[in-house]
Subunit: 205 residues, 2 copies
């Protein structure tokens, strides 16, 4: 069986990454979603092990020391990272693994897994992004302000991603994401054994 | 309006490229198909300007001298080439242009248009390819033999293509080709103006 593929999904805070990924996972249960570990506090309604593995700074730093993270980064003074074991297991089972991570982490994934598919989700325009950030209503003005500044920083790295998706409608965007992943599976680089087999058989004809 | 994209479609002789492309063009009339010029003789049922522009060696060599070809190559002692003017016009109209060409030509397109989408159509296996070549029944054993040898040569270049499609069923294959082209349009490199606009607007918020 072929190994699963690593799918990196990034995008501005507030662009709707989480909603799109949930929609995609409902349509296609074959995907596996990596749950990041973080040292930040849970928001109201968040459950440990669902949105994040909420762990202490000491626990996180132990994972760093024991090389149990595929990548990690800091954002607003908190650690965020991808535990290795879950991702490894799912890829070996042939399942594609979605990683919803920020630019810093995406860069580390790219360096370690050059064949990962890197997707960046854009808002239809900047004003829509601001409205979404303000509209969520669960954060203080300082956090919103920090996110907008962060959005500027995230925007610097968009060219490093393979594809951009525009989140006009999350249903449509989830379908498009699925199409991009299907297309990714057809990359020549993933079919070298098959190509070599046909090549050998052609010589024997 | 965005420029159209250049889509290179290659594959072994007899793999069914023509059938798949016809199916794709019927499903999606927005595509434009480049008709190659050739100095080879028409086969029974072929019409000038449809399968090929059938021209003389003198006419072909004049097109070479006057730089009217996007690429050209020789195969079984005949010239095959892509007239520039049609492709340019369609791309400017925003239409994606399909080029059904061989490896030699595909390499020249890649060098001149690094962002062209390069697709290679594979048979499910080598025996199926042989059966299709023999089954067509319109060619002499010598030509079939030459094609099989050529297939071996074509096989050397498959890794240079972006994606492989397996022609198990031409309907399915045409749909997959359309999906790959749609995915290609989402490449980050084609959205730099939009990205830059959002970036500037974010700074002004």
């Amino acid at each position: 069986m072929a190994e699963g593929k690593l799918i990196v999904v990034s995008g501005f805070s507030g662009v709707g990454k989480g909603t799109i990924i949930r929609e995609l996972m409902e349509m296609h249960q074959e995907y596996a979603l990596s749950v990041s570990a973080t040292t930040r506090d849970p928001r109201p309604g968040e459950t440990n092990g669902v949105q994040y593995h909420f762990i202490t700074r000491e626990q996180f730093e132990q994972m760093i020391r024991e090389d149990e993270l595929l990548e990690y980064a800091t954002y607003l003074d908190n650690y965020y990272g991808t535990p290795k074991s879950f991702v490894r297991k799912k890829l070996e089972e042939g399942r594609d693994v979605l990683l919803e991570i920020e630019l810093q982490g995406a860069r580390k994934i790219r360096a370690a897994f050059p064949d990962a598919l890197m997707l960046f989700i854009m808002p239809p325009d900047a004003a829509t992004l601001r409205d979404r950030l303000v509209g969520r209503g669960s954060e203080s003005p300082e956090v919103i302000e920090a996110r907008l500044r962060r959005a500027g920083a995230e925007a610097e790295g968009i060219e490093e991603y393979d594809f951009v998706l525009v989140n006009q409608d999350y249903h449509v965007c989830a379908r498009e994401m699925h199409q991009l992943i299907e297309a990714h599976h057809r990359r020549t680089i993933f079919h070298l054994d098959f190509i070599e087999q046909v090549r050998r058989d052609l010589q024997d004809l």
